[in-house]
């Protein structure tokens, strides 16, 4: 097993070469989602915001030949141990791949390669005056923010957490944040503020300390675009963890094109998935939802 030293805050971690079969050690219900854990015996500890490509060893291609390709998942939590790094993933059954992952049994094996991509950068790298972080998550997109909150707390950087969900079926995973104070919003009003999580962000950004924090967001495209525009309006630095359909995760397929602010495209798998709000033309990346 490799050394599981914690990487520097925000430093990109290089993936172990190739895919490896990892044992599933846990799969539990978390509200309307599932959290499953895999033991990565030969991989490094990932940085927050990085992702893995996942496929099950058995039964991939089960539903009329799909899923065929591996799927990208941000790591929601991780813990180094004597046998390897435990990786936790948050998943919602919306398609053939996520249905298969939700049904993973303990002891089953999962193919994965990673950690991949560009992680979140510390607040001080986004803007020199920032002292803390505001984390804005929507739905299943709360996953990478949970690990980022832990990493920030470990570095003594305060963060405030705003999470939004559509309804009770499409919510869960709050325990990943491990008791931090969370402000909640739900579109159906079942918990917290009745409305969008961006309503909460807007109030926060209009407060006295608006300029003292960097914003980190992950969630559905419309939420991310709203966060991006709010941050621009208030002159606040932000990073967004985006999603785009990708076949490989390591720059081979050129599928995950995201339009750049200055024209052309980036490959989200190698130049993201975390991007600066001003780097991109829009967070409304077409083509999601094939999970």
């Amino acid at each position: 097993m490799r050394s599981a030293a914690t990487p520097g805050l925000g430093a990109r971690v290089t993936a172990s070469l190739g895919r490896r079969a990892c044992e599933v050690t846990r799969n539990v219900q978390a509200g309307g989602y599932r959290i499953f854990s895999a033991l990565d015996r030969d991989g490094p500890e990932p940085a927050a915001g990085q992702f893995y490509m996942l496929a099950t060893e058995a039964g991939w291609s089960a539903e009329e030949g799909r899923p065929y390709l591996a799927r990208a998942f941000s790591v929601a939590d991780c813990e180094p141990g004597p046998e390897g790094v435990r990786l936790d993933f948050l998943v919602h059954a919306v398609g053939p791949a996520t249905r298969r992952l939700c049904a993973l049994g303990e002891g089953e094996r999962l193919w994965l390669h990673g950690p991949l991509g560009r992680p979140f950068a510390p607040p001080a790298e986004l803007a020199p005056v920032t002292a803390g972080a505001i984390l804005v998550g929507g739905g299943i997109g709360i996953a990478p923010l949970a690990l980022w909150r832990r990493r920030l707390a470990g570095a003594g950087i305060p963060s405030r957490v705003l999470l939004g969900f559509r309804d009770s079926e499409r919510s869960g995973g709050l325990d990943l944040f491990r008791c931090s104070e969370i402000k909640l919003a739900s579109e159906d009003g079942h918990r917290g503020h009745h409305g969008h999580v961006t309503d909460l962000l807007e109030v926060m950004l209009e407060g006295d300390d608006a300029g003292s924090a960097a914003v980190y967001a992950c969630g559905p495209p419309a939420m991310l675009e709203a966060v991006r525009l709010l941050c621009r309006e208030h002159g606040v630095a932000c990073e967004l963890a985006l999603e785009a359909p990708m076949a490989c995760g390591f720059g081979a397929c050129f599928g995950c094109a995201v339009p750049l602010a200055g024209g052309g495209y980036m490959r989200l798998c190698v130049d993201g998935p975390v991007v600066g709000g001003e780097e991109i033309e829009t967070a409304l990346v077409p083509g999601g939802g094939g999970h």
């Binding site: 291609s61 390709l69 076949a247 490959r267 990346v285 083509g287």
Partner: protein, 291 residues
């Protein structure tokens, strides 16, 4: 298991299909360990065009049963930038380099072949003939006459091997014969099959480019037949590809007449698939020779 392909000594018969592996991005994701265990015995570059191309608007991918439709649109940095910054990095891979080029006229192809072949890092060139010739309006690779005439135009420009990538969208044997008559040193097949997908939310085309090409396990039976037909029709070496994901699949193509094989879409699922297929193939060939 070494093979000679157009005079190039290869450690084993497994290459990558053009546009299915970006060695520079992969090295960034996996580190220098990739060089120590490079999965292919020669590296085929993504197609280079005379000028930079941004590629097609997203979405660029659509998963099908056991397959993938891509509509990438040949994004690349253009000839000059490729020669200046990519080629020196590719030379560090330590395997022979085959550079794929595509022009829309004889003059463009001539510029590409001259510029690329002049570089000592380059062992061979692959001509991507899946584009229309702007002068005739015909897709070069779909017409034996166009293909032969292109080869006659570029053949005198370099003594280095010229490989013609054949399309499966027309019967490839007559085009292969024409390519060989024009002076091609080898042919490779199959490229992707023209395909499209419908937006599940509305009836419009899903892909930003309108249509794309199908690859993956689903196309393997077509590749197997076309490789057999082409190998029977020409005396130049054939590089077979299309849905190869195991050594047995590679063995099938070699048995059908291919001198070397290429792995494409499978590398998206398993970044080290080339190495795995090569080692499985070695066992396969040993088994066949012992019976």
């Amino acid at each position: 298991m070494s093979v000679r392909l157009c005079g190039i000594e290869l450690a084993h018969p497994v290459l990558n299909g053009s546009g299915t592996f970006d060695a520079i991005a992969a090295r960034r994701a996996f580190g220098d360990e990739l060089l120590a265990q490079f999965p292919f015995s020669a590296f085929v570059s993504k197609t280079i065009t005379p000028e930079p191309r941004a590629g097609n608007p997203p979405p660029r991918l659509w998963e099908t049963p056991s397959g993938l439709i891509n509509s990438i649109g040949l994004p690349n940095r253009g000839l000059e930038s490729f020669l200046e910054s990519d080629l020196p990095q590719l030379a560090e891979l330590g395997v022979p380099l085959i550079v794929s080029v595509m022009g829309t006229s004889h003059a463009e192809f001539a510029r590409l072949v001259t510029g690329v072949a002049a570089r000592e890092e380059v062992s061979a060139l692959e001509l991507n003939v899946s584009c229309p010739n702007v002068e005739s309006g015909l897709i070069v690779g779909e017409s034996p006459g166009e293909t032969c005439s292109l080869l006659e135009a570029v053949r005198p420009l370099t003594p280095k091997p010229l490989i013609v990538k054949l399309t499966p969208n027309v019967s490839p044997a007559p085009v292969a014969v024409a390519a060989a008559e024009g002076g091609a040193d080898a042919v490779s097949l199959i490229n992707t099959l023209r395909a499209t997908a419908t937006d599940p939310g509305g009836g419009r085309p899903w892909l930003g480019g309108g249509r794309g090409g199908l690859s993956g396990a689903a196309v393997r039976p077509i590749a197997l037949l076309q490789v057999r037909e082409v190998a029977a029709a020409v005396t130049v070496p054939v590089i077979g590809m299309g849905g190869v994901s195991t050594g047995a699949h590679a063995g099938d193509l070699i048995e059908a007449g291919a001198t070397a094989v290429a792995v494409g879409t499978e590398s998206f699922r398993d970044p080290m698939a080339g190495r795995r297929v090569a080692s499985e193939l070695e066992r396969e060939l040993r088994r066949l020779s012992s019976v």
